[in-house]
Symmetry: C2
Subunit: 455 residues, 2 copies
């Protein structure tokens, strides 16, 4: 792998130089350039079938296929994305975000970790895999699917999948957009939480009213909003929506044992949580469990009435709450939405009108069964590549894994090697290059291992 | 009174034409012009001692004194104000706010009701009083004190009083800045609620954090703010601050009976309360009682986290609550402030930092003892002037009556004749001229009646 490392870094630098910010229409041309850069790199590496899907409405995605020598070998689809987050506030970057800069083992730049670095890792893995085999055909039929809208919530992913059913058909999806737990604690991610977001609007009068005139005699939407939010959790930190936990699948004993065995430093966790001052959460679960395998309800914003300097003694006419629920298998976002509407109706006092509006793009939760043979294979190749014990982890965020699973109809496993402190989505994003080299090593081994395990 | 009415309206028009918006530094010259207009009017009417207090820091106030013929007659200080509210949004006025326009019985213009109209009513009353007596000395020693900062919260009133102790010395303050209950239900106001305002700031981390990363594991200031607000009332609508009701003086049976006898139209009340949809409030009290004689806690604003379009799945770093408490005698704003600080400390979960900041200018509550002879005299002269039964009322808002009472050391009674639907502080402020004429009639009678009642 070391022999290929210099070329790998040079290639990744080139790709990072293309500012493929999908959320910014001014950069949509760059998203196209980024897709073509990747397609050219794949062709140069010898991939026999490379396509840029750029007929819209999705931003350009890249598809490639490299058939196995054995027609009965399993087909694996590697999913990643080549669009990147905006770079504001750009003045907080120590190096220009689109001029990749190497400092020791770190490579700084937007997309270095999320997700160009991990996609490049797979290109490297295939080269290493073929070099180790001494052939020009991989042990599994490899497909690569790299979309350009992940950072925008993958709004056209469903359509891309349905438009390209034949190309994307496979036996296993390898999702490559998650980190390991820590550099000294490599892990196999086995799931991501889903998300359902909503805005609750409580309306009283048609205008604010002076509290000297009416205060104490008419309902206050801000107070009602507060009571509604307060009622959303019980005193054990559990969400009180009807049947909220009915479909929750608890992690296996093996998973819980693994989580408990991971190193956990409270101070670091708090520092990485916006400088929070204390841990809290649902009773009976560890911090990692609260974030990985337990569903939550979080107030993302609440706004009502006067917020300027001094005092304005009004009863506000309206209050707005932004809420998001992180979901775990097998919770159904639609069921949560229904329960929320009922909850709001129950908690709206007489004289106020309540509306529940969907907010943001939801995503169902996903987790793979850890007894699936591909998960065991992943653990083996990670232990070989990282030369350490490897445990299970999950991530608390959300992504399109469930969508890929549902529409393609096969299990999704996670192969990611980046680190949680790579500052993805933030200034000074970086990747630790040896992590990607080890990840490539693991992937190269995985392609050899899978034929006996997955069919 | 009818003979004097034309001059009265002409004078009031002139005064309204001076835009004495005290809260706007660009209009501070107009506040001075307004004070001098009043001083000139008083001199023209024959007041022997007229002064403009304009040496700062208070905006110009007017003082005048007209000694009684009898050196043993009581001294009455009439309090009012000549500054007015801003006129925004000016496009909602049907007539120019500073060109008084008469339509039928109504005179439209900023300050027509609050408070130039009521001060002018007293000038008219003195003329009528002297005309009725056929002398040039009133039956009581009359003092007039018209400040220029009431709409800004009377920030220098304490200093004005203390700087002019001798001039302001009196046996009774007549406060002339409140309405009667309704045109068909004239009332004597007997008190105003006080107010204490605060801002509560709850801080978690130093920055917002992604809820996919930390959601469910660290305290959410928005949720904590909601729980704090929810805990502020019990399920009977009572405020839960420690000892909040300990010093509350309940209204007398006579007052409660009067309130119950007043006409009350729920639809009108709701329409005048910003279009509210239902009545609510503390159990066991009528709507008028809730607003006049019961203390309240009202959320004036709550702001935390994201409020833009769509969803931003963050745990906010901070939440801010603007709260105001309307207070009744003998509640002490300082005691409420202390109880609030303790309440916030008790309701701040581990990991959050809470601050309680004062917001706005507080005011203590005030009510006059309805058995005071001046109140009885007021009722008599109102019944004579308005030719209807007159009952007690109060107002739910706040003003400087308690300050005048405390610093001058005498009872304060209320003599106001305007109407609650005069749209004070709003576009299309108006006054119903016959109300002011009747109010002047009542005041003229009061000066004759008081010598036997108050000393
Ligand atoms: Zn990503
Ligand atoms: Zn006023």
């Amino acid at each position: 792998m070391a022999a290929l490392a210099d070329d790998f870094v040079a290639d990744l630098r080139e790709w990072i130089a293309i500012p493929s910010i999908g959320a910014d229409p001014a950069h949509h041309g760059d998203v196209g350039r980024s897709a073509h850069w990747l397609a050219d790199a794949l062709r140069r590496d010898g991939w026999p079938d490379v396509r840029v899907w750029d007929t819209g409405p999705a931003l350009p995605a890249v598809y490639a296929c490299w058939p196995a020598a054995d027609p009965d070998a399993p087909t694996v689809l590697v999913y990643g994305h080549h669009d990147v987050q905006p770079v504001d506030p750009v003045e907080q970057w120590d190096h220009p975000p689109f001029e990749a800069t190497v400092v020791g083992e770190e490579l700084f730049g937007r997309g270095a970790s999320d997700d160009k670095g991990q996609v490049a890792m797979h290109l490297l893995a295939v080269k290493a895999h073929l070099a180790a085999l001494g052939t020009d055909r991989p042990s599994v039929t490899l497909k690569l699917f790299v979309e350009g809208e992940e950072e925008s919530g993958s709004p056209h992913l469903l359509r891309l999948i349905d438009d390209h059913r034949a190309e994307l058909a496979c036996d296993l999806v390898v999702f490559t957009d998650t980190p390991v737990y820590a550099r000294d604690a490599p892990t196999i991610c086995t799931g991501q939480r889903g998300v359902y977001g909503a805005e609750i609007v409580l309306t009283g009068g048609t205008s604010d009213v002076h509290s000297g005139r009416a205060g104490g005699s008419v309902p206050n939407p801000a107070t009602a909003a507060a009571r509604l939010v307060a009622a959303l959790h019980d005193d054990k930190g559990r969400v009180t929506l009807r049947d909220f936990y009915a479909d929750v699948v608890e992690p296996t004993d093996a998973e819980r044992a693994d989580y408990a065995a991971l190193p956990f430093d409270e101070a670091t966790w708090l520092a990485n949580s916006g400088g929070a001052q204390a841990l809290t959460g649902e009773e009976g679960w560890s911090t990692l469990e609260r974030v990985w395998v337990r569903p939550t309800a979080e107030v993302n914003g609440i706004h009502s009435g006067y917020g300027g300097p001094g005092l304005k003694t009004i009863v506000p006419a309206e209050a707005r709450i932004k809420l998001s629920f992180r979901l775990v298998p097998d919770q159904d976002p639609d069921q949560v939405a229904r329960a929320l509407r009922d909850f709001v109706a129950e908690h709206t006092p007489a004289g106020l009108h309540a509306e529940v509006l969907p907010a943001g793009d939801g995503a169902p939760p996903y987790a793979v069964d850890v007894t699936h043979p591909a998960v065991g294979a992943l653990r083996e190749v990670f232990e070989a590549a990282f030369e350490q014990p490897v445990r299970y982890s999950r991530t608390g965020g959300s992504g399109p894994a469930a969508l890929l699973h549902q529409r393609i109809g096969v299990p999704v496993v996670y192969l990611g090697a980046t680190l949680p402190d790579d500052r993805i989505h933030a200034p000074n994003e970086r990747v630790v290059v040896p992590q990607l080299l080890r990840g490539a090593e693991a992937a190269a081994r995985l392609w050899r291992l899978l034929p006996g395990r997955v069919s």
